[in-house]
Amino acid sequence: MSAVTVFGSYAAAAVGLGLYGLIAAPQPLRKIIAFNLLGSGVFLLFGIVGRRGAAAGFGNDPVPQALVITGVVVAFSATALAIGLLLRLFQITGSTTLNSRAAASPRSDPSGN
C-alpha cells in the first residue's frame, strides 16, 4: 500500500470522527477539539491531492501546500476566538453548557456588566 492510500483512508476517517465528535460531544471544549480534528482531516485530504499532483520534480504540488499553511493559521485563530468566547461564557454564567434549560442561573458578574 502506498502512502497515498494509507494516509488518504486515514484522512477520510479523521473527518468522520471529527464530525461525530462535533455532534455528539456534550462539552463545548470537546466540540472545539473535534472540529480541529475534522479540520486536520480536511487539510490532510489537500495534502493527498497535492501528493497525487506531484510533478515537475516536486514531491507534492506546492499550490495545495500553500493553501493548507494559510488554513492552519486561520484554524488556529478561529480556535483561539472560540476558546475566548467559551471562557467568557464560563466567567459570566459559571457553567459552559449550551443547553438553555439546564443552564445554571446566571450569577452576578464580578467584573460588573
Binding site: L17, D61, A66, V72, L81, G84, T96, S111
Partner: protein
C-alpha cells in the same frame, strides 16, 4: 510499513480524543496527535506544512486547548449529559457515510491527477525565490495570504472584545510568578536569544528552502510566551499604541504594496519584476512581527486586568 504504523497510531489518538470521557486527557491526546500529524506531512513530502503543523497546530494550539481544559475542569460534571442514543447513532451513521464518500473520492482520483506544479516551475524565475511554496504564498496566491493576515487581526479584535468593562484596554491573562532561581526562569533567560535567531533564520531561509513567516513567527511567539510565563515580563496592555502598530504592520504593508501594484504595475498585488524579492522579503519581515505578536496575544486571551495594575 512505517506509513501503516503511523496511520494506526494517529487513528488511535484521534479515537481517544473523541471517545475518552475526561476532557483534559482528550486535550493531551490531541497535542500528541498534532505532533504525529506533522510526521505524516513529512511523509507526504510537504515539509513546509509539516513545520507549520508542528509549530502552530500541535504546539500553540495545544497550549490554548490545555489552558482552557485546565480552567474548565470543574464544569465537567455539570455538562456531561450526552445526547440520546438515537442522536448518537444517526450522527455515527452520517459521519461514517461522509468518511466513506471522502475515502472513495480520494482513493479513486482522475488519472492523470490535476496539478499546478509545472506552472509553478515555469513562473518560478519571476520572484527570484527558490522555495515553490513561498512563491505560491507570496506571489501567485498573495491575496489569500493577505486576507489571512486580516483574519488574524479580526481574531484578535474578537478576543479583545470579550474583555469586561473594567479590564478594557488592560493586560491579558494573570501576572505569572516563577521562582527567579528556578528552571523556568533559567530557560526563559537561556532560550530566547537562540530562539529569536532561529525564528529569523527560518524566515530568511524560507525564500529558498522550507520555512517562512508563519513558522518563524510561531517560534518567536513561543519565545515571547516563555518569557511571560517565567514572570520576567508582563503581557502588554492592549491599549498600547506600539502593540497596535505591530499588529497592523503585516496586513498594512501588504496592502500598501498591493495598492502600489495598481499604480506602478499591472494589477493589485502585482510586484514590479525588478523589486519582487526585496518587496516580498520586507512584507515577510513585517508579517513575521505581526504573526508572532498575534499568536502570542491569542494565547494570552482577553484582557483581564486593568492596565494600571
Amino acid at each position: 510499513m512505517f506509513e501503516i504504523a503511523l496511520a494506526v497510531v494517529v487513528l488511535g489518538l484521534a479515537i481517544w480524543t473523541i471517545a475518552v470521557p475526561d476532557t483534559y486527557s482528550a486535550t493531551v491526546g490531541f497535542i500528541a496527535y498534532g505532533l504525529l500529524v506533522a510526521l505524516i506531512w513529512v511523509r507526504l513530502d510537504a515539509v513546509d506544512v509539516a513545520l507549520t503543523e508542528a509549530a502552530i497546530g500541535g504546539g500553540l494550539g495545544g497550549v490554548v486547548l490545555l489552558g482552557a481544559a485546565a480552567r474548565l475542569r470543574g464544569t465537567e460534571a455539570m455538562t456531561n449529559e450526552r445526547p440520546s442514543l438515537t442522536v448518537r447513532l444517526s450522527a455515527a451513521a452520517l459521519s461514517a457515510s461522509i468518511a466513506a464518500a471522502l475515502a472513495v473520492a480520494i482513493l479513486l482520483p482522475p488519472n492523470p491527477a490535476p496539478t499546478l506544479a509545472p506552472e509553478v516551475v515555469s513562473n518560478a524565475g519571476a520572484t527570484g525565490m527558490a522555495n515553490p511554496v513561498t512563491n505560491v504564498l507570496m506571489a501567485f496566491r498573495a491575496m489569500d495570504t493577505m486576507l489571512e493576515k486580516v483574519v488574524l487581526l479580526l481574531a484578535i479584535v474578537g478576543v479583545w472584545s470579550l474583555a469586561s468593562d473594567q479590564a478594557w484596554g488592560g493586560r491579558p491573562g494573570p501576572r505569572h510568578q516563577a521562582d527567579p532561581n528556578g528552571v523556568l526562569a533559567f530557560l526563559a533567560r537561556l532560550l530566547p536569544p537562540a530562539g529569536i535567531v532561529v525564528g529569523i533564520y527560518i524566515l530568511w531561509t524560507g525564500a529558498d528552502h522550507p520555512g517562512g513567516a508563519f513558522q518563524g513567527g510561531a517560534v518567536l511567539a513561543s519565545m515571547w510566551l516563555l518569557v511571560i510565563m517565567a514572570g520576567l515580563m508582563d503581557t502588554p496592555p492592549v491599549r498600547s499604541r506600539w502593540l497596535r502598530l505591530v499588529l497592523v504592520a503585516g496586513p498594512g504593508l501588504f496592502l500598501v504594496v498591493g495598492l502600489g501594484g495598481i499604480c506602478f504595475g499591472s494589477a493589485f498585488l502585482a510586484y514590479p519584476a525588478a523589486f519582487a524579492k526585496p518587496l516580498i522579503l520586507s512584507i515577510e519581515a513585517a508579517m513575521l512581527l505581526t504573526i508572532a505578536t498575534t499568536l502570542g496575544l491569542l494565547l494570552a486571551g482577553a484582557p483581564e486586568r486593568s492596565a494600571e495594575r
